[in-house]
């Protein structure tokens, strides 16, 4: 077949989000891939100039609907660092629990979409069925399924009742059982391995050089997880980052699969060690100064730079999301791939375009 240019996106069934890739294809082999962005760019960072710094918590939650809680947590931690606010210990534990729940639902969502990308429809359905249980946990503890809005500067809005804790543990046990059951299909099935093993390999050095983040980086053998910084209550939990060394699409799915189980473990630890205290401190005054705050999002390192000048609006709010850092990986792995592997490769970095463009 002759040289064809395929406009992949912005509306494409494989991509739930409008990323546009212009693929030059020769005999179903990609020779060139150029990403075009801007379909989701809203200019959200600018809203920090016109909204009160408390209101910005709600704005940053909507940077991305999948990991909204973690965005808000990062922002609040940043402002707390500037203003020197001590967050009550119980609030840090609660933040940890909700952020891990978010990681679970995001990873399950991704694993499902990934299965869908290589045409394994029933695996997609089963994984999303498990995800609904995690969303139930979110809804029961915070009142909403996805954008949970529990963070505020100085603590959290909601508390967990003791009977909720035992219920969460019971649900988690079920979720764990379900994922273990699907794990063998996801990681060892012949057709799945055929589609993922050895596809889109990024070596350790290359990953480092491209400045990748999160599971994409860890799948290439670099041990880097922002949770090692010990923010929120992570310094009180036993935690070992998940690292794989192959650097291909299969390794990336392995990392995420293992992280789901790790999150279950972290939530259990957090629930057993949760401190008894207030859940928020009163915030007085206005922030002045600048800081950098980093947390681990499901997709990797989330980076906030906050500069405040003592007024009610921030002077600058800069958000660097992990997908933004992972886009160069696409440019590096796509050329030379078969057209049929493009969805697998694109999804393997877990693109979140609304994060990328804000």
């Amino acid at each position: 077949m002759l040289k064809t240019v395929i406009p992949f996106g912005p509306q494409h069934p494989v991509l739930p989000e409008p990323l546009h890739l212009q693929l030059t294809v020769e005999d179903e082999v990609i020779t060139e891939a150029i990403p075009a962005l801007g379909f989701v760019h809203r200019g959200l960072e600018m809203l920090a100039h016109i909204r009160d710094f408390h209101q910005v918590t709600q704005v940053v939650e909507r940077v991305c609907g999948i990991c909204s809680m973690i965005h808000a947590m990062c922002y609040c931690q940043g402002i707390e660092a500037i203003m020197g606010i001590e967050v009550p210990p119980r609030a840090t534990f609660l933040r940890t629990i909700w952020s891990e729940l978010h990681r679970m639902h995001s990873h399950l969502l991704w694993l499902g979409l990934f299965a869908d990308s290589f045409g394994f429809e029933s695996l997609f359905m089963q994984l999303w069925k498990i995800r609904e249980k995690v969303l139930d946990l979110n809804e029961a503890t915070t009142g909403n399924r996805i954008i949970v809005s529990v963070n505020l500067i100085g603590g959290v809005r909601r508390d967990l009742a003791p009977e909720q804790i035992s219920w969460i543990l019971a649900e988690l046990a079920e979720v764990e059982q379900d994922i273990n059951r699907l794990g063998s299909t996801l990681l060892t099935d012949y057709t799945v391995k055929k589609r993922t093993v050895g596809k889109g390999v990024i070596t350790k050095d290359k990953a480092f050089e491209l400045g990748l983040a999160g599971p994409t980086l860890r799948a290439s053998g670099v041990c880097q997880d922002m949770r090692m910084l010990g923010y929120a209550a992570f310094d009180e939990l036993d935690f070992e980052p998940v690292v794989e060394t192959e650097g291909d699409c299969h390794a990336r799915s392995k990392v995420r699969f293992r992280e789901v189980r790790q999150s279950i473990d972290l939530i259990r630890q957090a629930l057993s060690r949760i401190a008894q205290s207030e859940i928020r401190t009163k915030v007085k005054g206005r922030p002045q100064g600048e800081t950098v705050c980093r947390v681990e999002q499901p997709r990797g390192e989330l980076f906030y730079y906050i500069k405040a000048d003592g007024t009610k609006n921030l002077e600058r709010l800069r958000i660097r999301t992990p997908t933004f850092a992972n886009i160069p990986a696409l440019l590096s792995i796509l050329p030379g791939m078969w057209l049929s592997d493009v969805p697998v490769a694109v999804l393997s970095i877990d693109p979140c375009i609304s994060c990328t463009e804000r």
Partner: protein, 151 residues
């Protein structure tokens, strides 16, 4: 007689096209969640076709920005009549929390005519299913020959 049959079939077999028009993903994944076992919209014959040429209903999530406006219009024009537009989530209704941002035009109805508005931030799957089935009544109400139009 045949006309009635077609009208009935339209209500029974609405095919969706989902376009994420600079949304934060919250509503998008809820739209996708509708397909999965807990909600299972295929019960109503609804399939997510992902191809504007085959679709009957356009689900739009998120605010419209300058670049996605062209895409949205393009998709809408590619869909053969009769067609419906369902706007999902606060952003798609009015621009929501982003309405003051510099690259945001506003709700979907600034670009194309919307038949059903589904509220929520994010809209729950139940609400989305309800919105779509509500829109289906439009198929029976709308007179033959009256075409949906772009603004």
């Amino acid at each position: 007689m045949f006309k009635k049959l077609i009208q009935k079939a339209r209500v029974k077999s609405p095919w969706l096209l989902h376009y994420d028009c600079s949304s934060c993903n919250g509503c998008d994944i809820e739209v996708l969640a509708c397909l999965t076992p807990v909600y299972d919209i295929e019960r109503f014959g609804i399939i997510n076709v992902g191809n504007p040429m085959h679709a009957d209903i356009l689900l739009v999530t998120g605010t419209v920005n300058y670049r996605s406006r062209k895409v949205l219009l393009n998709l809408f024009n590619q869909m053969p009549d009769p067609k419906l537009v369902v706007a999902i989530g606060t952003c798609a209704l009015s621009g929501g929390i982003f309405r003051e941002a510099y690259n945001v035009i506003g709700g979907v109805d600034k670009v194309i005519a919307v038949d059903v508005y589904v509220t929520g931030c994010p809209a729950k799957p139940e609400a989305i299913i309800d919105g779509v089935t509500l829109g289906l009544n439009r198929f029976t109400q709308r007179k033959e020959g009256k075409k949906a139009h772009a603004r």
